[in-house]
């Protein structure tokens, strides 16, 4: 369980995290979403006591992380991939960490085996690919068999197999009753991995809901209408809360009306409809909509959003 209360971090005059209050509960995967620069990594560093909050507080299992006497038992974290000295082997990196808490050597072998690094664990980590670095980070996080797992963008740089494996691992960790907190800037990634979502933008909380509710609440139903006479149909669809826009190929995009209402309006006016489709906004679209005002580094070119 992670409880953040009015968590705030200022770097100089830059407000990186702005009054975040949220709770991450055990037993499920909680996705931590936000565009680049939203403050996800900063929040995670504050949870681990690496950066001190400017104000507010964050507790892990009821205490500040620093107050735990068996920290690796409490939280396993992956913050940045390849946070390892390039001259050191993965095995020695993990062994040094294990030693701080008296964790046995055999556990080091166990986590190395589990993440599939057994073949390269004794070699210098400097030559590791990004994906291998991520695997090592996950091994680091699993070392102490922790109650809480915090992973910053663990899917970055992984191949399809790796992504599937991490997802399955996260699910099983959550099913064992652990708290699992995973950041990403891609909604599509989290939709398949998380049950709960905490969405932030510009350091502020935007949403704190289940994945299903998130889609339902944010989705706007849009109807696409292709007709022989768009100019004649459009005026008949106007009204409060209704938006109509003209697209190419005699197509109108209408929001605020159902397909039934549009079909009847067209029928009443004797206008021929060629196509009438209700479109559900995708998760990605909902996310982009929600964070539109909170995008830190927006590309200049239109349509650059993924």
């Amino acid at each position: 369980m992670i409880e953040a209360r009015k968590l705030t971090k200022r770097y100089g005059d830059k407000l990186a995290v702005d009054g975040l209050t949220f709770t991450v509960s055990p037993g499920m995967v909680t996705g931590f979403l936000g565009p680049n620069g939203a403050g996800k990594s900063t929040t995670m560093r504050m949870i681990l006591g690496l950066d001190a909050p400017t104000s507010g507080s964050v507790l892990v299992n009821g205490k500040p992380y620093r107050a735990h006497t068996a920290p690796l038992r409490e939280v396993g974290a992956l913050l940045e991939a390849r946070s390892i000295h390039p001259g050191r082997s993965a095995y020695n990196h993990l062994l040094a960490l294990a030693r701080t808490s008296g964790i046995h050597r055999s556990r080091v072998d166990e986590v190395i085996e589990a993440v599939g690094l057994a073949g390269v664990a004794r070699r210098r980590a400097g030559k590791f690919s990004l994906g291998m670095g991520q695997r090592l980070g996950i091994a680091t996080a699993m070392l102490g068999d922790p109650h809480t797992v915090i992973l910053d963008e663990p899917l970055n740089g992984l191949d399809t197999d790796g992504i599937r494996w991490v997802r399955a691992l996260l699910q099983s960790l959550a099913a064992e009753g652990r708290t699992v907190f995973v950041s990403s800037h891609l909604m599509s990634e989290m939709a398949l991995t998380a049950q709960h979502l905490i969405v932030i933008g510009k350091g502020r909380l935007i949403a704190d809901t289940g994945v299903a509710e998130f889609v339902r609440a944010g989705s706007r139903s849009v109807v696409r209408v292709r007709t022989t006479h768009p100019d004649a149909l459009a005026p008949r669809l106007s009204g409060p809360g209704i938006e109509v826009s003209f697209d190419r190929d005699n197509t109108l995009t209408v929001s605020g009306l159902t397909t039934d209402q549009i079909g009847m309006a067209a029928g009443a006016a004797g206008i021929t409809l060629l196509e009438l489709t209700a479109e559900q906004a995708s998760l990605e679209e909902v996310f982009i909509d929600l964070t539109r005002d909170a995008v830190e580094h927006r590309a200049n070119t239109v349509g650059a959003t993924p």
Partner: protein
């Protein structure tokens, strides 16, 4: 890779200082660059010591009573101090440079045990390699000097102190490097500060009037620290142990500052 459940680890895992020291020892010994720096330190102590001794034997002093057979055989320490000091800096700035400091501090959230652990592991390692290095250099040097009857025995007054003192001096320089690295968190900064502390004060003092510089000279880091490794008392220097104690104040103060800062600054 297909197995997604990880076996449980039921073992106790409380953190304590001894465990953190062991962890730092593993970090120290698991980097090839550390091993090279330690070997370089030993090689410089012995190699430079022997080379300089051989040189001095070829040109014996006019007045053998002023000849310091101990200092001559241990002259390699003057160069070796840089290798060990740089290693001290790197031992901690290497973690900042690779961001692995965050992994380390997440495992040791109290932070200070990590710094003490580094100091103990590194200090002991340095001492353990320095003692045989200075002993070997001293003994080999004396056997070279005996050709001109310039040698001195370990039993003579102050000789054991000077030989072991040199090993302690190397250890203190290493810890000074470590402390500066911890304070500045940056390799280039740490190394510059180390060289600056060991060299610059003498240079600055050279610009001052002689009356001032003669009085102040003894308190500078290098002259103060060097007193312990010579049997002939320099009239301008402090006594051997007083000087060494003063020298040790530098790493102690810098380490204290680093600790204070480690607690309050973001990692």
């Amino acid at each position: 890779m297909n197995n997604v459940t990880l076996p449980a680890y039921p073992g106790e895992q409380h953190i304590n200082q001894v465990r953190v020291i062991r962890s730092e020892w593993i970090k120290l010994r698991s980097l090839p660059s550390t091993i090279w720096c330690l070997l370089a330190t030993v090689a410089l102590v012995v190699g430079v010591g022997l080379a300089y001794t051989t040189l001095r034997v070829a040109r014996p002093p006019a007045d053998p009573t002023t000849f310091d057979a101990v200092s001559v055989s241990l002259s390699g320490v003057q160069l070796a101090q840089f290798a060990i000091g740089v290693l001290g800096v790197l031992f901690i700035t290497g973690e900042y440079a690779t961001a692995s400091i965050r992994v380390s501090l997440a495992a040791v959230p109290g932070r200070l045990p990590m710094l003490w652990g580094k100091a103990v592991a590194f200090g002991l390692t340095t001492l353990v390699i320095s003692v045989p290095a200075v002993l070997a250099s001293f003994l080999a040097g004396q056997s070279i000097l005996s050709a001109q009857d310039l040698d001195i025995g370990l039993g003579e007054p102050g000789v054991v102190r000077a030989v072991l003192g040199s090993a302690l001096f190397l250890t203190a320089v290493g810890l000074l490097g470590l402390s500066l690295g911890a304070l500045l968190r940056n390799t280039a900064g740490g190394i510059s500060a180390l060289f600056g502390l060991l060299f610059a004060p003498q240079l600055v003092l050279g610009l001052l009037p002689e009356s001032v510089s003669d009085a102040a000279y003894r308190y500078l880091p290098t002259p103060a620290g060097a007193a312990v490794s010579s049997v002939h008392q320099d009239p301008l220097a402090l006594g051997p142990w007083t000087g060494f104690a003063l020298f040790c104040l530098y790493p102690v103060i810098v380490l204290g500052l680093a600790a204070w800062q480690l607690r309050r600054r973001d990692a």
